[in-house]
Subunit: 459 residues, 2 copies
């Protein structure tokens, strides 16, 4: 066995105990809200058949899928002259039939189609699992990262959209975020706008351009629209829509005026209005909801067919921390037609960075060891063992330092592990039965009986 | 986009909401016990560099590692004549530099070495993540499955071994298992036995043979030992050891007599005695502990250097549901010498099958939706929305059926999702304010106010 200096594949990460506590805190908070709204967890395998994944993410996406090499003599079956072409792209399907999932959406669609006879629709599922992309790693972009998705398929009710707004609101508030915007748009409104201008075929160009309003301003957008085939007259019609201002109600009124002659556009407005009505009925304090109509929002336009969502925090400079929308033919790719669905996703890695920057993680690492019992010699160790058991019997996470060691060493162990209390057992303690309980944050030491210590630690 | 009839790679599985609740129940129960004993969670990436994994699991193991194809033009860099050999094994490292982890132990060793400067030893970690093996799939053997490991490195104290016995005992009891054996052995005892016979070089042959006692009986073991180079005189000496009977104390006394002249053998006996002493001090009711000395237990002998554990249930015919032991040089493969460790593993998939067969999963799918509100028309829907919000405000997982539908359809939805209660809202209910709460298990219907319903569901 040769000695290898260990390293990690680029774009991948280890998670330390401290990081895991924080990550679990985020995932548990979000999962709890998902469950409260009736979403149930599923998991799918890390590997899918290559045919399940290819062709679903565009040519660029296909290149980013990690393929798994067939086992055994994978080259033996490949034709020799074919191999001689050294055409990686053509040879890949001959030596690889499986790949790592690229997102949770396509495996979910596959799941729904494969299990359609067992599923009672509407099917509300959530899924929190890693995905893999052979992207060039950079700050905040990893080759393995978790996605955190909730979707419902088989229900066209806009109650689902309204509930997703509340799920965002509740989960992010529970994580301690105070100032964030949930943005809503509707693909049908975008279609309507393109119709009104008389350029329905340029909808993608239009949305790509107006999506940049934040960054390049109206002047920049105008320039880009001209380049992309719109006339000055078109842009004149677009201007009031792009520069839409005011409250959500005011925006809806303006849109109604502009889109009056577009059936699909009016439908889009109605859908957003219905979502707002549901929210009014569900949410007694609408003022607490940071929901904003933003018609520049597009997010993978070709995918969504109804409402589109995006969430941004205003407390930290960060891209979107969540997004989603309605799609009308997710499972069509696997032969199950006309199953409508809507879903959202939380950007867990970005939320992690936001909470870290705002110092919002709960100070007490609730899942860690609560108390360390010191170990100075075999007599003290023997004295400590029944105490250790007693603490655990009442479910207090506890450790006895496993060998007799210097106080300093044991204290730095407690420090490094962020253990809030240490019980010190010396000769005096064993004689009197009053043990020393040290609060590691304040440094305060108290002499207490075992029962007093338990009372203190259990509260 | 072509239509693909969806399927799963062989040896992999989807987990449905019902299965996920059960799997989470197992993992959460085990994790809670790990934490109580001071173990903290880490995670490592699914992918490791190929060099980190190869050479660690033997030639057979190396073949079972799933390799990931390099991205981009992976063949462009491979020499043409070399490629023409079509030697899969030689070409693999040229077109693949990453692989999926095969177990959690080697990635853990890599983690410890890479992060040694941040770690405060002894380092007590647990890890629950999937691993992948290109094994031939069969009943109970999958290509993707979860491992569930706890290890401590940097402490030679046998308190760790004693605590692992208690962790097994507590976790399996908490899962509802009543009759299981925790078996303990010590590699040093096996070494001692081989020494006493005068055949230390045949220790592997000896343990492989006596490990089969259960299956082939003493006669079979004798035959195999003769084939493997032992003499009749050797077997005569081995007989009392192989057929060791009686209580743990009696077994230890017999072993002491047999191994008196072997320094290492005596050390092994002392280690087991120390573990028993710790357990006596920790565990006030030793009678509840199903711990048995079993010197036929070997489990990957070349790996372990001290105590060896294995857990078997007696309630269902099933292989071991857990195992582990002490190793003295885990991190040596990555250049960090002399770091001792001990660890155990739970066989989560097998435990799942055992609980299923014994019907031990808690009846209430505690994580699922608690109550479904019916939806018969828009008036009733409107009436229901504030109620829905009220239920969720007090953290009751609840759903409103998202569209008006026939009662039967809504009831079968609740049934399929195992939702225990349904609130029925018809004209009468809206008039009186007394809603109908149906208990889906008993079929009993009650007329209750909203507050009465909340009181009932929250308890």
């Amino acid at each position: 066995m040769s000695i290898t200096k260990p390293s990690l594949p680029k774009g991948t990460r280890d998670f330390s105990p401290q990081e895991m506590v924080k990550r679990n805190y985020i995932f548990d908070t979000i999962k709890t809200v998902f469950r409260k709204y009736g979403y149930a967890e599923i998991q799918t395998p890390s590997m899918e058949n290559l045919g399940t994944l290819t062709g679903k993410y565009g040519d660029e996406g296909d290149k980013l899928i990690f393929k798994i090499l067939n086992s055994g003599d994978f080259l033996g079956k490949v034709d020799e002259s074919f191999l001689a072409t050294r055409n990686s792209q053509l040879i890949t399907p001959k030596i690889s039939e499986k790949a790592l999932r690229y997102d949770l959406t396509v495996p979910f669609a596959r799941y729904v189609v494969m299990h359609q006879s067992e599923i009672s629709f509407p099917f509300k599922r959530f899924q929190v699992q890693p995905v893999w992309r052979a992207d060039r790693p950079q700050k905040g972009r990893y080759r393995e990262f978790y996605q955190c998705d909730a979707d419902v398929v088989g229900s066209s009710s806009l109650l689902n959209e309204a509930e997703f707004v509340l799920i965002y609101q509740e989960a992010l508030s529970n994580l301690g975020l105070k100032d964030f915007d949930i943005k809503i748009n509707n693909r049908k409104i975008l279609t309507g706008i393109a119709e009104i201008i008389g350029k329905p075929e340029l909808i993608v160009d239009m949305t790509v351009a107006i999506d940049k309003l934040d960054k390049i301003g109206f002047e920049g957008v105008t320039k880009e629209l001209l380049e992309r085939g719109f006339s000055s007259a078109d842009i004149e019609k677009l201007e009031p829509v792009i520069l839409l201002q005011g409250s959500n109600d005011e925006k809806l009124e303006s849109l109604k005026a502009v889109l009056a002659s577009s059936v699909v556009g009016v439908k889009g407005i109605e859908e957003i209005e219905t979502v707002f009505e549901y929210l009014k009925a569900l949410n007694p304090q609408p003022s607490t909801l940071n929901l904003q109509i933003d018609i520049t929002l597009a997010r993978g336009l070709n995918y969504y067919t109804g409402c589109i969502f995006e969430v941004k925090t205003n407390e930290v400079a960060m891209g979107s921390i969540g997004g989603g929308g309605r799609y009308d033919d997710l499972t069509g790719m696997f032969g199950l037609k006309d199953l409508t669905g809507v879903g959202i996703s939380f950007g867990a890695d970005r939320i992690y960075d936001v909470l870290e920057e705002l110092d919002l993680f709960p100070a007490s690492a609730a899942q860690g060891t609560k108390v360390l019992i010191s170990n100075f010699d075999t007599v003290a160790e023997k004295y400590a063992l029944p105490l250790l058991q007693k603490l655990r019997t009442v479910s207090i996470s506890s450790e006895l330092y496993p060998t007799a060691a210097k106080l300093k060493k044991q204290m730095s162990y407690a420090d490094a592990k962020n253990i809030p209390y240490v019980i010190l057992i010396g000769e005096e303690e064993m004689k009197t039965g009053f043990l020393t309980l040290k609060d590691m944050h304040t440094g305060v030491q108290e002499q207490l009986t075992v029962d007093e210590i338990i009372g203190k630690l259990i509260s």
